[in-house]
Subunit: 270 residues, 4 copies
């Protein structure tokens, strides 16, 4: 399936670790739809993952960048424009990490150095990325910036830990910076709030499988997959959504507007 929806568009895709990643699927689909892009990830993630396979498949170059490091971002944005031959039309931010989660620290027993570090990686990196793009005037008019988020920013999911607060910050940055990017550069900024997805990152959250089942039962159309999220992301990169901005868009089979489902009530009665 290809519509040439992104023909002639240039972008940067953050966060493709392995073939389970949403960013990976987005890169594959963006390639099919005619886009050219640069892939990037933190050096440590590049070593752990298999991004070169993706780069070959999508005819892309990989530029390492620590998204918390402004110099790395400057280098990335400069190089990407050189490689792609012009300003950018789309950017995907798919980055998140909590050391408190990794180390098993409960939300009521945080190590605040880790909390700060997780915020920097997961959320302030999005500000740094946009500030660098903005200062370098690196986006074309009617370009589109998307970050992936999760509904824990609005509602409590106890095991999501400090990532909930990080995502709330991320979504706020999308609105706050989106205003200036819209007004000054005619660029749109949105977040996609995706179903729980069995990526390598997602599976690190405690009780993930049970939670996936719960979300599946609550969602009238079931959980959205990584591939479906990639497809949805493409619509936001396309010219068909030029006036959608500052939005947090739920892509979750309907979960976000459910109070309770019949399946859930039945599962509880068993």
């Amino acid at each position: 399936m290809s519509y040439n929806l992104l023909k002639g568009k240039r972008g940067i895709i953050f966060g493709a670790l392995d073939e389970n990643s949403i960013a990976w699927k987005t890169a594959e689909r963006a390639h099919e739809e005619g886009a050219e892009f640069v892939l990037t990830n933190a050096p440590v993630a590049l070593r752990m993952g298999t991004i070169n396979t993706l780069a070959e498949k999508t005819n892309s170059q990989v530029i390492p960048a620590d998204a918390t490091n402004v110099e790395d971002l400057e280098n990335l944005i400069e190089k990407a424009q050189e490689i792609l031959g012009g300003k950018l039309d789309f950017v995907l931010h798919s980055i998140g990490m909590s050391i408190n989660v990794r180390k098993g620290k409960h939300y009521t027993d945080q190590n605040y150095d880790w909390t700060h570090k997780g915020l920097d990686v997961s959320a302030m990196s999005f500000h740094k990325l946009m500030q660098t793009l903005y200062k370098k005037d690196a986006m074309n008019e009617w370009g589109s910036i998307v970050a992936l988020t999760y509904m824990a920013a609005q509602r409590v999911f106890p095991d999501y830990n400090d990532m909930a607060d990080n995502k709330a910050y991320l979504e706020s940055v999308a609105r706050s910076f989106g205003y200036f990017f819209g007004k000054d550069k005619k660029v749109r900024v949105n977040t996609i709030s995706q179903s729980p997805t069995p990526t390598s990152a997602g599976q690190g959250v405690k009780g993930f499988t049970g939670f996936m089942n719960y979300a599946e039962k609550m969602s009238p159309l079931g959980n959205a997959t990584a591939l479906e999220c990639a497809d949805y992301t493409l619509t936001l990169f396309s010219d068909l959504t030029k006036k959608v901005t500052l939005q947090n868009l739920f892509h979750d089979g309907g979960f976000s507007n459910m109070g309770v489902s019949q399946e859930l009530m039945e599962a509880m009665e068993e």
Copy 2:
């Protein structure tokens, strides 16, 4: 511009009055993207407008239907399937009318017969439409139903009068019916909350031009046009948004998440 995004898809489009209508633009764009559809409107609207021009242009047939009349809806849905040669993939509900607005009755001085009638036309018609589609099993799996709405459902716009409450009801119907349509038929149901748009209907609201200017100043990307709304609607009819359901999606250049803009503050200081 055509991506063949809706190639092979069949639908029904309500509410194309004249070339300013969002439904009109959606029909034109859906045709360009390869869809086949039936046009419909209330008999009185068919006489007032110029829908035959659109029908010729998009190679479509027009079937009159009063959307508050279940028998009319049954007839429409049966005929549409006969004409198009199968079940439906998309439906657009773009219907709204307040007699209190038309007759100049203030919100604090409603004529309740008119209030009921306006609700029936503007909002309960959406339930009737979906109930008829559901009972007749007229939608294909992964089909998409969209209704147009306005942000007065969430926030106060004093001149919008009882249409605010009608739109709140409409959006609730989208969620409530969307659950059953999703679970039982794998069909998604969403509403698009569009910028103020200078359609023939929109212009009937008191002080519309001043309000358009205000919204333009508040929106970082400016107001969304009818054509842009058509484009956005197509993404929701496409296969790229299969897991988006029960959502109210703002298509408004960012207005919905603005508290105040610099332009507005400057306009007030003048």
Copy 3:
């Protein structure tokens, strides 16, 4: 416990059917806090319930009124001011009824005459009440009007049927009319979105007990009781909340902002 929080205040309380009613508890507590008020309900509800017991206990008079009938509301508001000796400081709207629910009609198989009737009783009655209060200039400055609602207005609870849409309409009326009541009369208008409560009305909803258990497990502080709702309502009638208006206030032990709870996950795993 009494703080004299409503000393010298006069009001009207709709919807006290029996001692399980939130309105009943509100009347008892308002009386303890020093308020004087008139009780009202529809003639049929007056026959079914035990409101005279409450009237004696709170030293109140009962004035029958069908809340869908503007003449009845006019009579009620005039009589109430005569009895109480002045304009009103507070009004509680606690009215809801769906014939589709009562008759067991599924949401996808509505009888639209019943849908209209349910809307009229449950939601348009709130507009009629406020329009009558407004036209008669019956509220004191800084008075407070409250209606009870339920979160089905925002999210899907499948068994709540068309009451979901009625509550969405009711909440919209609170905002829309609240603007004019605030600006013109300095009166605040809010809705309280209460936990599922085992009132005589609530228990009519299918699967109510199972649902109560679910909500209890999801709410960090457990479900809110009718008495607790009465207490909360008093704060909104008091002089301590003068600038709270147009709000929909969740009173639900935290349910509304939960995505999932540990108790629920554990209950599902059993």
Copy 4:
């Protein structure tokens, strides 16, 4: 006016700088309502302000504490319980500061060291405060924790700068920690989203007076004052709101649910 609403209750109040502070007004009103409490602020704020006047007036002691320093918080919470003679019933967090704002750094040109520091002071301090209260088991059952916030957490106010993102983080912490505090300790946690208020802190925001006028014109009941905010805060500390938790409560004369007002449209037309 006194209702003895907080008779016998003990608490800690953060952030009373001078008599314009919301925290100052809250302390005065809490004292009138029978509460006993400890006042606290950062050492630098204690030197700049006039808190001793408040301490005398309310018969309170002042304990300095840097709210970003866990040891200071531990000391504060221990001492407060010693002084007051038992566990705490209420805590008010009214702390916010952005170095980027102070130093005139635009949102698109942040100094990230300052961004981190502002977040630590304005938002992570709330987590640190609650974590310390929780670990020390310092709150009585049905106690109440409130933090003050601003609507920039939901919508764009361009001059609010990085405080918008800080407030989004703060509100998320209220929900996330509120779940555990509710479930484990039966303590409620809420935020109050207040009108723009001419406190010493508020007035530091660029264009504050023009913005106050705008908000006044948009709010059907006008802006809420510091004293009115104090009154509202008391209701949340009282026993009348025991099941309100995880909420962000707008106290703003209706601003938050306005799309546009007649006054604003008229001001623009002049």
